[in-house]
């Protein structure tokens, strides 16, 4: 057992679970989506990205790419939220909320791919 590997898997999984928790619920209902959860998902996703830096294997590159996709989508979701509440001042209409959840749903798929790759890599390891 290796603490570094525990931390690595921990952050990749936590990015997925937080993202899932945010996306869960009715897509256009703002009551079902907590902004703190989106903030947590974005933060953990960024940390997971940084943890994946510097691995020059092919699987490492793909892992980094999935993380970058998740970051991009989550930042997009946060920007839409910010724009709706503070720039255009329309607030969280069902349409806007659906956009936000849609974007973070995309990030969820990327995070899921990341976890699948992690599992495949783990299974391929010979004891």
């Amino acid at each position: 057992m290796n603490l570094e590997k525990v931390v690595f898997a921990f952050f990749i999984l936590l990015a997925l679970t937080l993202n899932f928790g945010f996306v869960m619920g009715e897509i256009s209902n703002p009551l079902h989506h907590n902004k703190y959860e989106l903030f947590g998902a974005l933060t953990v996703s960024l940390i997971a990205t940084v943890l994946k830096f510097g691995d020059r294997t092919h699987i490492g590159a793909v892992l980094l790419a999935t993380s970058l996709v998740a970051d991009l989508q989550l930042i997009g979701a946060a920007l839409v939220w910010w724009y709706a509440e503070q720039v255009s001042m329309v607030g969280l209409t069902p349409q806007i909320m659906a956009d936000i959840v849609g974007l973070s749903g995309g990030a969820l798929v990327a995070n899921f791919a990341s976890v699948v790759i992690l599992i495949i890599e783990t299974v391929m390891l010979r004891r």
């Binding site: 902004k35 703190y36 903030f39 940390i47 940084v50 830096f53 510097g54 946060a78 910010w82 509440e85």
Partner: protein
């Protein structure tokens, strides 16, 4: 070039994570701590303003309190986060510029040297036909490099 970028990223992992965590904790604190507006009503900072405040707090001490003057609790949190962030920024800067003259950074410097050697060799090969003495290592290589009267290390001319 790519190896160098990846190596820099790899070396920057720890300070980057420290900075992300510091920002996240500071921003979260500011969104949670209640403030009072000029009419005395309770308000909560939103994520955008918290991020804005934390960002310019990290780079400059000597700022206004937006959008309303802070309460004592907010000022206490600001004081704590200032020191927290300063520490992590210094860590990052130290990591970034650490040890270029010393040997602390030996493997990284080796890669840089090797990269320089590669460019130099390919440039020479492009300019003129050259003889390559490859496969030498250990004492013979050291002797050869010394014979060729060039500074030691991998940056020796290869003609």
């Amino acid at each position: 070039m790519q190896e160098i970028i990846f190596l820099v990223f790899r070396r920057m992992r720890r300070p980057l994570i420290a900075i992300i965590t510091a920002y996240a904790v500071s921003v979260l604190g500011f969104t949670l701590i209640p403030g009072r507006d000029d009419a005395g009503n309770v308000w909560h900072m939103d994520f955008f303003h918290a991020f804005y405040f934390v960002s310019y707090m990290g780079s400059t001490i000597g700022f206004g309190e937006i959008p309303y003057p802070f309460t004592t609790a907010q000022r206490a949190w600001a004081t704590l986060t200032i020191y927290y962030q300063k520490r992590d920024f210094q860590l990052a800067v130290r990591h970034r510029f650490a040890g270029s003259p010393s040997s602390r950074n030996h493997s990284f410097r080796r890669v840089l040297e090797f990269r320089g050697f590669q460019t130099q060799a390919s440039r020479q090969a492009a300019q003129a036909p050259s003889t390559w003495s490859a496969g030498l290592c250990g004492q013979p290589a050291v002797l050869l490099v010394r014979e060729l009267d060039c500074p030691a290390g991998i940056s020796a001319p290869v003609r």
